[in-house]
């Protein structure tokens, strides 16, 4: 049974379509990758689910269903409550994701107190456990620190702890490793996977890195120009990609086994093919 279902979601900025008939689902406890190049709309899908779309972007049709509850049909207040209780975000940039003028501790415990109505004391205990779980040394000291006193990797760990704090059933990770350097990336990725497995959380993992996808995801959605090109199991994707763009994307991934091989860009012909597909879609929906 899928925990998050998006059905035929369309979104526009003015007359320009941002998302074109996007459908995808994430089963309970599943890790789904959402890949695409910059501007493909992958972050927008995450934002649409979490209700943090910029005000210029409007959802014109489609449904977002979170554990059987249709978010689009709700009043904004109820929607915020449902999302707050069931979903959380691991943001892209750990440097801007913590409020620089507040101590770390309250920023983790806020949501426990606000959403779940815990007492400050219980929330504090829980936050210390979580910081321990994400392997932060001296959690008591870190709770009292300001974000600028901590390194980027530490901050990302704190954000992961804070995302898991209220035991959400869905976490949307919006390129959580992009802003970190490669060695830290690997640790953080491992940590997210561990936490996800231990808590049984469904995870929608937004990324442009197929290497990351192969390590962490069970299924995959490929996006281009706000349109879903392929929706597949991870094994099938790497064995026999169904869409020519997916195949070209795979071929473009550098191979570390053969450093001498030159990089293959995605061929023009494939991009043209995808563009034609999108244009055909827009004509059908009267966007042109």
């Amino acid at each position: 049974m899928s925990f998050l279902t998006i059905e035929n979601l369309n979104a526009e900025v003015g007359p320009a379509p941002i998302l074109r008939d996007v459908s995808l689902s994430v089963a309970a406890g599943e890790v789904r990758g959402l890949v695409g190049e910059s501007g493909a709309g992958k972050s927008m899908i995450g934002k649409a689910v979490l209700g943090t779309l910029p005000s210029a972007i409007e959802i014109s049709s489609g449904r977002i269903v979170l554990e059987g509850e249709d978010l689009q049909a709700m009043r904004p207040r109820d929607r915020r409550r449902v999302i707050g209780a069931k979903a959380a975000l691991i943001p892209q940039d750990p440097l801007t994701a913590l409020n620089p003028s507040r101590r770390v501790g309250p920023q983790i415990t806020d949501r426990l107190v606000d959403i779940l109505g815990w007492t400050r004391h219980d929330a504090q205990t829980r936050a210390l456990e979580l910081l321990d779980e994400v392997q932060i040394p001296e959690p008591e000291r870190v709770m009292r620190a300001y974000p600028h006193e901590l390194s980027g990797g530490m901050r990302q760990r704190i954000l992961i702890a804070s995302a898991f704090a209220a035991e959400p059933k869905l976490i949307i990770a919006d390129e959580p490793t992009t802003a970190l350097d490669v060695t830290v990336q690997k640790q953080i990725l491992k940590l997210i996977k561990q936490m996800q497995a231990r808590h049984g959380t469904a995870l929608l993992f937004v990324t442009h890195d197929l290497g990351v996808v192969s390590k962490i995801c069970q299924s995959l959605t490929v996006l281009y120009g706000g349109k879903v090109l392929e929706d597949t199991r991870i094994g099938d994707f790497f064995a026999r990609p169904a869409h020519p763009y997916s195949a070209a994307l795979l071929a473009a991934t550098p191979k570390y086994t053969d450093p001498a091989a030159s990089l293959t860009p995605v061929p023009e012909a494939v991009i043209d093919g995808v563009r034609a597909e999108i244009e055909a879609f827009d004509r059908m929906h009267g966007h042109v």
Partner: protein, 283 residues
């Protein structure tokens, strides 16, 4: 992982201490003016007119900074003038700050129609020449302390609204605001808990600048005789009177001018110093 970032201790700069000391002295002077001032600031003595400051020949020790053309003690008048100057700075500065920052925060964070209304209002407001606007307002409201304060607030709230709106906008785009939104926090509480603390250093700097500006505006209005009644000494009116006798008694003009200059400078340096001291982010 435990790097040295938390070990860095910052020193409060010299400018913070210097400006705070000067303003502290002024505040003491203003509060205890009747006790400290050597003379009655209004007492005239035409036989003791234009006495020079203490280091020049012919000075009277009872008039350390000399006396003006009516024989009134310059030092006592400066000390009593600090009451008006600081009162205006404090009250007008704070009111301007509250109104301007409040509107700026609302416009910058909520966007949409509140932003439209507030921003257009700011645009229109800023097209008025400020000094003429002030004189016009005083002409309508009549002279007096409250009129000056109202004039400053009405003219200068735009300064805060502009800057704070931009700050609130850039803070509103940060991920921690999105996170708070996802966590189901109400928008108003996000504004107070997440945005305001980050805008506060800027507000403090603007507030101290505004206090300096308020002192200047009050002096300008006194200078053109639109401030308060002439039996209340103010720095602006002292400068205006001193200007008339500049060739016979320079001290009547120079001492209040220097006081005004140091005060406005201290306000702006105090703001910068406070910002460096309290901003949690090391830049």
């Amino acid at each position: 992982m435990a790097d040295g970032r938390s070990q860095v201790k910052r020193r409060a700069g010299a400018r913070l201490w210097l400006s705070a000391t000067w303003l502290g002295l002024l505040v003491l002077g203003a509060v205890f003016a009747p006790l400290i001032a050597p003379q009655d600031p209004l007492a005239q003595d035409l036989f003791g007119a234009r006495l020079p400051p203490f280091w020049e020949a012919g000075a009277d020790a009872a008039f350390p900074l000399g006396s003006d053309s009516l024989g009134r003690d310059v030092l006592s008048r400066i000390i009593h003038g600090a009451r008006i100057a600081l009162g205006v700075a404090l009250i007008a500065g704070t009111l301007t700050c509250l109104i301007g920052s409040g509107l700026g925060l609302i416009a910058g964070y909520f966007r949409g129609w509140p932003d439209m209304v507030i921003s257009r209002l700011v645009d229109i407001w800023m097209a008025f020449p400020p000094v003429l606007f002030a004189i016009l307002l005083i002409a309508v409201l009549g002279t007096g302390l409250s009129s000056i304060i109202i004039a400053i607030v009405v003219i200068d709230w735009t300064r805060f609204a502009r800057v704070i709106r931009a700050e609130a906008m850039s803070q509103g785009a940060m991920d921690y605001v999105a996170s708070a939104q996802v966590a189901g926090r109400k928008r108003f509480s996000i504004l107070l808990a997440e945005i305001l603390p980050n805008v506060l250093p800027t507000i403090v700097v603007l507030l101290t600048l505004e206090m300096g500006i308020a002192v200047i505006v009050e002096a300008i209005l006194s200078f053109v005789n639109l401030s308060i009644s002439t039996d209340q000494p103010t720095w602006g009116s002292m400068i205006a009177e001193g200007r008339l006798s500049i060739h016979q008694a320079w001290w009547v003009l120079v001492f209040p001018l220097v006081t005004l200059f140091l005060t406005v400078l201290s306000f702006s340096q105090l703001g910068e110093g406070l910002k460096d001291h309290f901003d949690p982010v090391l830049r």
